[in-house]
Every structure is written in structure tokens, then in C-alpha cells.
């Protein structure tokens, strides 16, 4: 029960982060090349991603022994989780620039503006460039979600629940996107990425151990202990990494305005 709730939260949050990035591209495509093609590209990409989950996930559950599946998937989750966590720590400590949805939006709009990409079709007509850009944006960002859904869903035998959590995130992010349109930079993406990184890493450690034959004390409850452990590690890592910033940037990152920015973004 505990692991199912945490699993759904992890899938939901991971999907939400990726979908915010995809939505930036879809909105940029919609406003410059027309909404019809942007929506069609998005819909085709979502159907393709769902088909991949069904085509790969179901055989995975039925054909691969659960212990092998858990070791392999634990390893994949560790790679994915550690990559997200590493990036979030580097961003929070000032070693890497924050992901800027406004900049991504501006860049995509500039690339798609009429004249740059062969001229946009009239708003209500189909536009191949708008379709392809929206499709690619959603499909590529969604592939990571597919991997997370397949990993967490198949190793816990809750593929349907994991897919439903990802679907809910897509619907909610799309709904919020329609309301806020271009204010995607307000989403605390780095904090969400850090949270997802912690959850994926914790699941990765848990499944890699379970699949290898390690019996965790408290069974599923140990996932919560692992999450708390990685939260503590991350909280310690950020100030430690900030100390290793080059001199001038360290002083800047410790200044009051930058701390206020940080508080606002978390």
C-alpha cells in the first residue's frame, strides 16, 4: 500500500516535470504556427507513447522473471534518479544554470516564426512544421515518462496504476497550461526534479536490493526510510556544493536577493 502510493506520486511528479517541458514547446508551436496542428501533434505523440507502454510493458510483466526484472529496473531507476538528483543539486547550489522555460519558449518561437521556417499556414489550416515540432516535443519528453512508467509499473506489477498516474499528470499539466499559457516559468521545476530524483533513487535502491535477494527491514515501509535518507543527503549536499563554488560566485549565491530567488523557486 505504502509503496503503491509513493509509486503513484513518483510517476505523477516525473510526468508533470516532463510535461511542463513539453507544454512549453507545444504552446510555442501553437502560438506561432496555429493551434490545430499543435494539438494534433500532441495527440498523436500521446497515443504513440501509450502504445509503447502497452506493447512493451505487458509482455515485460508476463515473460520476464520478477527478480531479474527488479534488478534491471532497479539499476535503470538508479541511473535515472541519480542523474536527476545530480542535476537538481548542481542547479540549487549554483553550479549549473536553472532550467529557464521562458528562454526555451522564446527560442522555440524565434525558430518557428513565419519566415524562419517557411512561413506559417493560416491559423485554422494544418501546418506540417507546427505538427512535427509539437509531436517531437511531446514524444521526446514523454519517452522518459514511458521509461519511468514501465520501470515502476512493471517491477511492482502496477502498470495500469502507473500509467493512470502519468495520464493524470498529462491532463492536469495540459489544463493548467491552457489557463496560465505562457507562465510556465512559475512552475518550481528544480524542486520537483529534486523530489522525483529522490523518489526514483529510493525506488532504485529498493528494487535493486529486493531483486538481488536483500530483505529490507519493514518491507515496503523501508522505501519511506530510504526517501528520508536521500532527502537528508540532498539537504547536506547543497550547502556543501555551494562552498565549492568559485569565490565570486559563492559570495553572489549567498547574497540576500539570490536567497530570495531560491526561496521563491522552491
Amino acid at each position: 500500500m505504502t509503496s503503491t502510493v509513493v509509486l503513484m506520486l513518483a510517476v505523477f511528479a516525473a510526468s508533470a516535470v516532463e510535461m511542463v517541458e513539453a507544454l512549453t514547446i507545444v504552446v510555442a508551436s501553437g502560438t506561432t504556427r496555429g493551434w490545430r496542428s499543435a494539438f494534433e501533434g500532441t495527440a498523436v505523440a500521446v497515443v504513440a507513447l501509450a502504445a509503447i507502454v502497452g506493447a512493451v510493458g505487458v509482455p515485460l510483466i508476463h515473460l520476464v522473471p520478477i527478480a531479474v526484472l527488479r534488478v534491471v529496473i532497479g539499476g535503470l531507476l538508479l541511473i535515472l534518479g541519480l542523474a536527476w538528483l545530480r542535476k537538481a543539486i548542481l542547479r540549487s547550489s549554483g553550479h549549473k544554470a536553472m532550467h529557464d522555460e521562458d528562454a526555451v519558449y522564446a527560442k522555440t518561437v524565434a525558430e518557428l516564426a513565419p519566415g524562419e521556417a517557411g512561413g506559417a499556414a493560416p491559423r485554422r489550416q494544418r501546418d506540417a512544421v507546427g505538427f512535427v515540432v509539437a509531436f517531437k516535443g511531446v514524444f521526446l519528453e514523454g519517452m522518459e515518462v514511458v521509461l519511468i512508467v514501465l520501470s515502476l509499473g512493471s517491477s511492482s506489477h502496477h502498470l495500469g496504476l502507473a500509467a493512470a498516474a502519468a495520464g493524470a499528470a498529462v491532463v492536469i499539466v495540459a489544463g493548467v497550461g491552457i489557463v496560465v499559457a505562457r507562465q510556465l516559468s512559475e512552475v518550481p521545476e528544480n524542486a520537483m526534479k529534486m523530489g522525483v530524483g529522490i523518489m526514483l533513487t529510493s525506488f532504485g535502491v529498493f528494487w535493486a536490493g529486493e531483486g538481488s535477494g536483500v530483505h529490507w527491514p519493514g518491507s515496503d515501509l523501508s522505501i519511506l526510510v530510504l526517501i528520508a535518507f536521500f532527502v537528508a543527503v540532498t539537504s547536506l549536499a547543497i550547502p556543501l556544493m555551494r562552498r565549492s563554488l568559485p569565490g565570486a560566485e559563492r559570495r553572489e549565491s549567498g547574497s540576500i536577493p539570490s536567497r530570495l530567488d531560491e526561496a521563491a523557486s522552491s
Binding site: G75, K96, L147, T201, G209, G213, V233, A237
Partner: protein, 71 residues
């Protein structure tokens, strides 16, 4: 036909290489060590429960430190 298949196979391989190794090969190598340690220590419950998360932290620390901005 065979050229097209070759293109797709190479794109598929590149996707997995970028996903698994990419610009952080130390994470990939570290995860292999973590999984190997879990397999090796499966009969030593207490050691496995303590060491597997600690090794994971070591991989994270090493990779994060490697990605730091240098003066």
C-alpha cells in the same frame, strides 16, 4: 531496406547509450557497482541494508563533485 534498418538500429543504440552512459559514465559504472554489491551481499542482510544506500550516496557525491563549476 537494409540501410534503413541499420539507421534505426543505430538510432536505437544511440538512444540507449545516451540514456545509460551519456555525459555521466561514472553514474553508469557506479550503479553497476551498487547492483553488484547488492547481489554479492544478499545473504548478509545487515551489511547489504547499510552498504547499498551508502554506495549509492558515494556515486551521487562523486558524480556531483565531478560536475561542479571550476574556478
Amino acid at each position: 531496406m537494409s540501410a534503413a534498418i541499420g539507421k534505426y538500429v543505430s538510432a536505437f543504440g544511440r538512444f540507449w547509450w545516451d540514456f545509460l552512459v551519456g555525459d555521466t559514465p561514472e553514474v553508469f559504472a557506479g550503479v553497476l557497482v551498487v547492483v553488484g554489491a547488492a547481489l554479492a551481499l544478499r545473504h548478509e542482510r545487515a551489511a547489504a541494508v547499510a552498504l547499498v544506500p551508502l554506495l549509492t550516496v558515494a556515486v551521487l557525491a562523486m558524480s556531483t563533485y565531478r560536475g561542479r563549476k571550476r574556478a
